[in-house]
């Protein structure tokens, strides 16, 4: 069978032929068993593929996957001007001593509790990168009851610095 006809058969199957060309192919199919078989094979293959696209679940947890996206979005955004910040700073001078008193009272009352039921502040954490070559981000996996800090070498630094600063070797050797 000629290559041109084979491609026409395919285009016929895919609905990419003009009406006139499609009628021509229809007519020739009636007398061409080889073309009929080829068309059947193509049709079966298309059907099998379309009904059975392989599933591929993401190999990372929701939290880990999202935390990297969130970090990339935030690092790409310019810092927003916070008009309320100045107002907050001026209030702070009054509020800090008041807050201090409130905190002492809170701690005093909290220390008298017999059982510590789930502390809503328990999941807060401070994470700080102490090296200019390393950045970090953190997240908490509720389902796994795990708090994660992920450290990674800054790409630019990695290119510029010597290999004796290889952070990965520093941990695993």
């Amino acid at each position: 069978m000629k290559a041109e006809l084979e491609l026409k058969l395919q285009a016929y199957l895919d609905g990419e032929l003009s009406a006139g060309d499609a009628r021509e192919v229809d007519a020739s199919l009636a007398h061409d068993p080889e073309a009929q078989q080829l068309l059947a094979e193509l049709r079966t293959t298309v059907g099998v593929l379309r009904d059975n696209e392989p599933l591929m679940p993401l190999p990372e947890s929701r939290d880990f996957y999202w935390s990297k996206i969130e970090r990339a979005i935030e690092s790409a955004q310019p810092e927003r001007v916070q008009p309320l910040l100045a107002f907050w700073y001026s209030l702070r001078r009054i509020l800090v001593p008041v807050a201090g008193v409130a905190l002492v009272l809170f701690l005093g009352i909290a220390s008298l509790k017999v059982n510590t039921v789930s502390d809503p502040l328990a999941h807060l954490a401070e994470v700080e990168s102490l090296s200019e070559h390393v950045s970090s981000f953190s997240f908490r996996s509720q389902s796994q009851n795990m708090f994660v800090v992920w450290l990674h070498e800054n790409a630019d630094e990695q290119a510029a610095t010597d290999s004796d600063d290889d952070f990965d070797d520093a941990v695993l050797q």
């Binding site: 084979e6 395919q10 078989q37 591929m56 993401l58 929701r62 979005i73 790409a76």
Partner: protein, 200 residues
């Protein structure tokens, strides 16, 4: 601010509108909902887990940055899929510059190999469980060159027309047609050979 559960109950359209107004938690819900599909599309194209994770995440970041441009002409997931496909195509073009042409592509472009493949007369997946079929398709896809795999994905799974595929792959419609023909014939023969291996 709405909770995770409240966001989970919203439609994609509502979540998109919230995200367009800056609601990151609404966007997070969209990511959670469609991350598998977007990752799967990336993996099907680049066949490398790490690259697929990176490319899918890059697609989500781009989507956030361009969200205001999304007007709802298609579904959100279709729009997202187009973004990740374009990123994968860019990635594959970069990778291609650094490796030799595949033998498969050379065979296809010299013409005729697919015409020597015997016509597969019986459905090679008949009687198989869906999971098994998907596994075999995945295995066969891994044996195609990236050009053939891409044209198959864009036509069979993304339902794009020849001219749209040609535009994305930066080639002629004729090239799309011959690659698609080769890919389909090769796929049929691979699935038939897996069946023969199973029976022998």
């Amino acid at each position: 601010m709405a909770t995770k559960q409240e966001h989970a109950a919203l439609t994609d359209e509502k979540l998109v509108r919230l995200a367009q107004r800056g609601d990151m938690r609404a966007f997070e819900e969209l990511v959670a909902r469609h991350r598998d599909k977007i990752y799967a599309r990336a993996f099907s194209m680049v066949r490398n887990e790490d690259d697929a994770v990176d490319l899918s995440q890059e697609a989500w970041v781009k989507a956030w940055q361009r969200l205001k441009q999304f007007q709802g002409e298609s579904s959100f997931v279709t729009w997202m899929t187009r973004i990740v496909i374009n990123l994968c195509l860019d990635h594959l073009r970069k990778v291609k510059r650094h490796r030799a042409e595949s033998i498969e592509l050379m065979e296809e472009e010299s013409g005729g190999v697919e015409r020597q493949m015997p016509v597969v007369q019986v459905n090679p997946t008949e009687g198989l469980e869906r999971g098994e079929i998907r596994q075999r398709i995945d295995k066969a896809m891994g044996q195609l060159s990236y050009e053939h795999r891409t044209v198959l994905i864009l036509h069979e799974f993304e339902q794009l027309e020849y001219k749209e595929i040609a535009k994305r792959m930066q080639c002629s419609i004729g090239t799309v047609m011959s690659r698609l023909f080769y890919a389909r014939r090769r796929m049929a023969n691979l699935l038939a050979s897996f069946k023969r291996e199973e029976l022998s």
